[in-house]
């Protein structure tokens, strides 16, 4: 990682803004597709950060809540240009989405009321459900094959389906917090067991 200058100049901020504007405007498919583009732009072309640091950024962006594009923009922006670098990068990466989607939203209803567009979108609705299923299947492969992880996958899936069908309100926020807490407790138990074992064998 290059040293962050004490007072980042306007030049680096402008450069960050333009780079992330480009990244925001050309990344289809979100998340992982973006990582490749980011690496090309930040490591290969600009040389702003080295590969190792980039992997670190990707890991942080992935483990924190929120879209990866936003997370990496904020992080890289801060490292290179302090608070205003972070602000400029984050704004820039969101701006193209915002403008494009806002313009589409103005015409979407009228577009949808065209008969054949309506038919197309009825088909697309089935396609989107397929997309979400395949995203879930792809992510399932990254879940560790440990009993606890499998349980923390199966129970929320089942509970969410059943509770929705019976119209019981239970926010996804709670599932996430409960599963996180279970992860913490499991670690506590493992640590305690390890300690007990150590004490047994002097």
């Amino acid at each position: 990682m290059k040293k962050q200058s004490k007072q980042p100049g306007g030049k680096i901020i402008l450069s960050l803004f333009l780079t992330f504007l480009k990244i925001g405007a050309f990344t289809f498919g979100g998340g992982y597709a973006m990582i490749a583009l980011l690496e090309n732009e930040l490591v290969a072309k600009k040389g702003w950060i080295d590969r190792e640091e980039f992997l670190n950024v990707a890991a942080i962006a992935e483990s924190t809540p929120g879209p990866m594009a936003i997370n990496s923009a904020t992080y890289v922006g801060y490292r290179l240009g302090g608070f205003f670098g972070a602000l400029a990068s984050t704004l820039a990466v969101s701006l193209p989405s915002f403008v494009i989607i806002y313009l589409i939203s103005l015409f979407f209803d009228r577009f949808l009321s065209l008969t054949y567009v309506g038919y197309a979108f009825r088909g697309i609705q089935a396609g989107v459900i397929y997309l979400i299923f395949s995203a879930a299947v792809k992510m399932l492969k990254t879940v560790e094959k440990k009993p606890l992880s499998v349980l923390l996958f199966l129970l929320p899936a089942l509970a969410l389906t059943v509770l929705t069908l019976f119209a019981v309100d239970f926010s996804s926020v709670y599932y996430i917090l409960i599963c996180g807490a279970v992860g913490l407790m499991a670690q506590g138990v493992r640590a305690a067991a390890k300690k007990a074992k150590k004490e047994e064998q002097p």
């Binding site: 498919g29 809540p65 989607i101 806002y102 197309a120 396609g127 996180g180």
Partner: protein
């Protein structure tokens, strides 16, 4: 106070959407349906548009839903809301807590959250399929099968599997959306 409601809702979504992309789909769906902002079919349309345009899914969805409820101000506050938690958390990590993710406790928490997010996406996909293909939003809804929708889903499943076998990679979301649009015109148009 639709603006405040949009802002707070998307703030919540931004703060707990782990796993990127579809990680926030279950929460967004719950929120838009329970606020009565969108119906299931409109929500699916919005996802399709968000997937077919550049940029993160969460930002696209926030802008779209915000605009549908309260025009440009609505999209601005919803987008701001969904971005703000990321921005603050990352600033915190980059500026002060560079080792935050290395703490055993944080790793253990994330270790519990990761499989959970996948489970939530699965559960959401199942409830969407039941509601969209069979009319079963809840067990009390009258059964109303959308046979063409089911046919399109099964065709995509088949096509996706064959493509993967032959080309060794998955179909891109945009190709899937285009195929299903074509099938929709053919099936529902006749």
């Amino acid at each position: 106070m639709i603006l405040l409601s949009l802002f707070l809702t998307f703030l919540k979504i931004g703060a707990v959407s782990f796993g990127g992309g579809y990680g926030m789909i279950s929460l967004i769906r719950e929120e838009v349906l329970s606020h009565g902002w969108l119906a299931e079919d409109e929500f699916l349309n919005f996802i399709a548009v968000s997937e077919s345009t550049p940029g993160p899914l969460a930002v696209n969805m926030a802008t779209f839903i915000g605009s549908s409820q309260a025009g440009i101000l609505g999209s601005a506050v919803a987008t701001l809301g969904v971005i703000l938690p990321s921005f603050l958390i990352i600033l915190l990590i980059a500026a002060i807590l560079q080792n935050l993710l290395k703490y055993a406790g944080v790793q253990a928490f994330l270790g519990g959250v990761r499989p959970c997010v996948v489970g939530l996406i699965f559960g959401t996909a199942i409830t969407m399929a039941l509601s969209s293909f069979l009319g079963l939003a809840t067990v009390n809804s009258p059964l109303h099968a959308d046979l063409w929708g089911i046919a399109i889903f099964l065709l995509l499943l088949l096509f996706g599997a064959v493509y993967k076998k032959v080309k060794k990679k998955s179909l891109s979301p945009i190709v899937i959306i285009l195929i299903s649009a074509g099938l929709g015109v053919v099936f529902y148009g006749i």
